[in-house]
Amino acid sequence: MRMQISSGLFGLVLSLACVAGDISKTAAPLTDLELGRRIYREGILSNGQTLTAKGAGDVALSGKQLTCASCHRRSGFGTSEGSRRVPAITGKILAAPLTQTYREIRGGRKSGEGARPAYTESALIRAITQGFDVNGREMDPLMPHFMLNDTDLKLLLNYLNTLETENAPGITESDIHYATIFTPSTTASQKKIVLDTIKTFFDGYNAETRGEDRRAKHGPWSKAWQYGSFRHLQIHSWELTGPAEQWPEQLQKYYAQQPVYAVVNGVGLDNWQPVHDFCETREIPCLFPTTDVPGKSTKPYYSVYFSEGIALDARVAATFLQNNTKTASRILQIYRAEPRSEQAAQAFSTAVKPSKGTHLDELKLAQDQALTHELLQQHLASSQANTLVLWLAETDLPAVDKVIADTATIKTIVVARSFIAADTKFPTSMQPRTYVISPYVPDIDMVKHLIRYQSWAKMHHLETSEVRIGANAYFASMMSANAVRGLRANLAREHMLDQFEHMLERGLFFSVYPNFTLGPEQRYASKGCYVIGPMSAQDKKEGRYPKKWIVPDKF
């Protein structure tokens, strides 16, 4: 039976109908639930004004700085920072008494840190507005005293009751279902690598913990919290076909056939937007897809990416060139009419635009047009560029070589590892002036960096020819499995995302990226790129590449 905090107290519909009508005359009035959610997540009261509060004794706060969700999280399951614990406040949890736990008894704590009777509506209102808990004790100064009128309090309490639903879709008594998604541009070999990797990892996870479901059922009561969340992991492959406009319908269909708890990895190198939109609207976590063009939306919550993709490369290139002001005054960027290259060029021109004294020219090649040295020479003459930025593949480099060999005017060439194959040897003329933007660990260090993945894949006879595809799938499977394990008995999707935000910094695995961090509401794990410079004679002797890690500011 599920208890409601304030059952029978929602004679609100009438009073709210007029309030809601005031806020939005044109749009449909918000429902009670939406109004409550807006207070909780955005700190906006039912009359459209900003929530206010007093915190830490004498500090005036507003919903612009702090909302319920910022501490208690969208999930309602709370968080912890350092020694500070923010408790779970879902209606279901508040309406039940908290008794001393086995751990607390064993820890020798007499009172039981969190032990309390069930919250009544009036006790909860006192907690929110005056900062006293149901035991009458003053709460941690972290909890502000919120100024809310009766209407808003009731809306908020009503919303808390909706926070913890029964199991999320895709979860059964025994299984958690995940999907991995491939867009049509994904090759058959890439699909195979991803599917084999995830399946192998999940199989290992399911086998290794085979006893846990029995422990959950028959183990001592004191262990229920530890094993209650255990489920077998299942993976489903969703292959998209045809033009992108048709993908949403295909995604709906797949989801209707087999609802999934979350999307794990998948590949869509040149378009991920429709999948992003699907996950954000359906509120399905979409965890670490391999893509160069992550989807965009205002404040994405359910999509977590390795990095911002090709746009990050472009912003790093702009930052690097602007720091080298001596050489960056006249830039010619060359790109091709294909989605990744176009997005790079667009992000680059946005990033360099605000800087003074930089002149930017562009050369856009048609999709099947080769870069010839005549074409390049012609554009160099008209643009008088001293810097080349190339969002092109290694096959275009011979033309550059031919021109560079004859001219001293080009001082700096910037290319991106995202377009150029790992084993590319630059023509001699380019070598002393070429900088490679690399979101990944430099190729020379990659084997060492991925040794755990490589050994694991070899042990299971998995293909490792495309290291980024394979290592990303491995990383995403491991994160998904570990996050669920950390959830204990609460399998809400938002709570799983909370886990992600916390677990990355203590992770041991980084896939092909050198450096990961996430935090509350952060959705891009890797935030910079290396700029790998030309080797000096000394560097060559010692076999190392001079590299600099650059984290660009937002432009």
């Binding site: 700085q65 999280r73 920072e81 100064p141 972290l142």
Partner: protein, 204 residues
């Protein structure tokens, strides 16, 4: 190196048991009650310490690069560590500095406020500038980020480094000038508390 005043603190610092502070706090408060400095019923502790500042550079919210020694200056200063996506502790700490700023201006107290991000890759200068606007930071309240390793060195110098940024704890540091010792205020002190402590520091 850090030389703490009280034996209890010294023990904590030496053993690096700060993660256990939550459990230690009640007994700590009881213990230090016999001494002085601990404000009754407020749950924060005060200790004096000497920290050796590393020779590093920081980047301000205006994208200017400055030496740490220049940032801290030779005038009265208060320092805290924050990050802009932090959801529990930092909003309160930032709001407390906002209140300190307001109260100090009203009372004619001269104090420079410095907030340093412990999530430097996420907190670029413009992210810090947004955060500063959110808390109505004036000219005397500066925000800094920097190279990841430098920021770790800085936290280590102030004995606040906890590995994972989510493990951070609320601490405010203050000192009178470059030669003076730092005062470490640990816990949620209100703006009034901080200014009281600050007035003691500057009156010395």
């Amino acid at each position: 190196m850090l030389h703490a005043h009280f034996t209890v603190r010294k023990f904590l610092n030496l053993t690096g048991l700060f993660a256990l502070l939550s459990f230690a706090l009640p007994c700590l408060a009881e213990h230090e009650h016999h001494h002085h400095e601990i404000a009754k019923d407020t749950g924060y502790t005060v200790a004096a310490a000497e920290y050796v500042l590393p020779e590093i550079e920081l980047v301000s919210s205006h994208s200017t690069t400055q030496k740490l020694a220049t940032v801290m200056g030779d005038e009265p200063v208060m320092l805290n560590f924050i990050f802009t996506t932090c959801n529990a502790i930092c909003p309160i700490m930032a709001a407390t500095f906002m209140e300190v700023q307001k109260k100090a201006a009203k009372q004619g107290i001269k104090v420079k406020l410095v907030s340093v991000s412990i999530d430097p890759e996420q907190d670029t200068p413009s992210a810090l500038a947004d955060f500063a606007r959110k808390y109505h930071a004036g000219a005397n309240w500066e925000f800094y980020t920097g190279d990841k390793t430098n920021i770790i060195d800085l936290q280590k110098a102030f004995n606040t480094y906890r590995g994972n940024k989510m493990n951070h704890i609320p601490i405010t540091f203050m000192r009178r000038n470059a030669k003076a010792r730092w005062i470490r205020v640990e816990g949620f002190a209100s703006a009034t508390d901080l200014l009281n402590e600050f007035n003691k520091v500057t009156a010395k």
